[in-house]
Symmetry: C2
Subunit: 144 residues, 2 copies
DNA sequence: ATAATTCAGGACAATTTTGTCCTGAATAGA
DNA sequence: TCTATTCAGGACAAAATTGTCCTGAATTAT
C-alpha cells in the first residue's frame, strides 16, 4: 500500500507519540530500534516529518531528541502521509489512470471509490494521538 | 496501491479481454498503445501473465498475438495480482509489521482489517470478464 | 571556552523497479 | 523452402527507492 519510508514514518510517529513528552524526548537510535528500521534511514524520514508540514519536533544537543507537541498529536494520521508525499495514494485510480473519475470511470471505479472513501475517512478521522492511545493487548511495533 | 507493472497488467488484461477472441488476437504494440504503456515493458508483463498462473495466452507468427480464453475470463481479477506477485498487498499490515494480527494488532489493525476484507472481496468476486463487460460511458484506458 | 551529545543535511552506495534492445524461435503463407 | 511476422527471453540501461556515512551545527554542562 505505502512505501517502506511511509511505513517507517507511521511507526516512528506512533513510537514518538507513545514515548515522549515535550520534557522527555527520545533519540534517533532508540526510535529506530523501537520500530525495527535502519537508523540512518530513519533519520532522513524524521527530517521529512519535521519539515513544513511538521508532524514532529526535535532539538539538538544533550537531552535533545525528537518529540511531538500536543497540537501535532491532534493532527489526523493523514498528515504523516502528506508529509511523506503519499497523500495522493488514497485518491488515485487502481489502474493508474490519470483521467479516471465519476464522469470517466475505469471498470473498477465505482466499487473502488467506496473503498477509497473508507480509507480516507480512516486516515482523516483518526488522529496521531488516537493511534498512540490504542495500546492493544499486544502492541509491538517491531518485526518480531 | 500497486506497482506500475501491476497497473499495466490490469489494464492490459482488460484491454485483451475487450479486444480479442480466440480467433482475432492482438499484437503487443496495439495493446501497449491502447493502455498507454511502453511497448517492451508491456511485453515483459504479458510474459508474466502468460506463465504458470496463465491469465492470458499467445501464439507467435503472422496473425498471432495475445488473447484470452473463456476459461481465463472467468478467473477473478485477483489472478492478475497473483501472477504479478502482488497478491500479498491485499493482506499485509498498513504499518508494514510482519507480526500484526488479530492477537497481536497494530494500532490500525482493527479498522484496516475491514477495508482489506472489502478489497479482497472486490478482487476475488469480480472476474476479468466482469471488468471487460463494464463499459461505462467513458472507458478510456489511456492517460488522456 | 571546551568537550560531549545529538540532530541536520548532503554525498554516496546498494537494491529494486522500470524500461530498452537484440537475437532467436515459432508460425503462416507464398 | 524462404520470407515475413510476431512472440520469447535474456542482457543491458535508467531511474527511483532504500540505505549508509561523514562533516557540521546546535545545545548542554563543566
Amino acid at each position: 500500500m505505502f512505501s517502506k519510508a511511509t511505513e517507517y514514518a507511521l511507526r516512528a510517529t506512533i513510537y514518538i507519540a507513545q514515548h515522549t513528552t515535550e520534557d522527555s524526548k527520545c533519540r534517533i537510535d532508540d526510535i529506530a530500534r523501537g520500530i525495527d528500521a535502519p537508523v540512518s534511514f530513519t533519520a532522513k524520514i524524521l527530517q521529512a516529518l519535521r519539515k513544513d508540514e511538521k508532524v514532529i519536533n526535535s532539538i539538538s544537543g544533550p537531552n535533545g531528541g525528537f518529540y511531538i507537541t500536543d497540537k501535532c498529536r491532534k493532527k489526523p494520521v493523514r498528515a504523516i502521509l502528506d508529509a511523506m508525499g503519499e497523500g495522493e495514494v488514497l485518491e488515485k485510480c487502481v489502474l493508474g489512470l490519470k483521467k479516471c473519475s465519476n464522469t470517466s470511470p475505469c471498470p473498477m471505479h465505482s466499487d473502488y471509490k467506496e473503498i477509497k472513501k473508507k480509507l480516507l475517512r480512516l486516515f482523516e478521522d483518526r488522529t496521531i494521538q488516537d493511534l498512540a492511545d490504542d495500546k492493544g493487548m499486544f502492541l509491538k511495533l517491531g518485526k518480531k
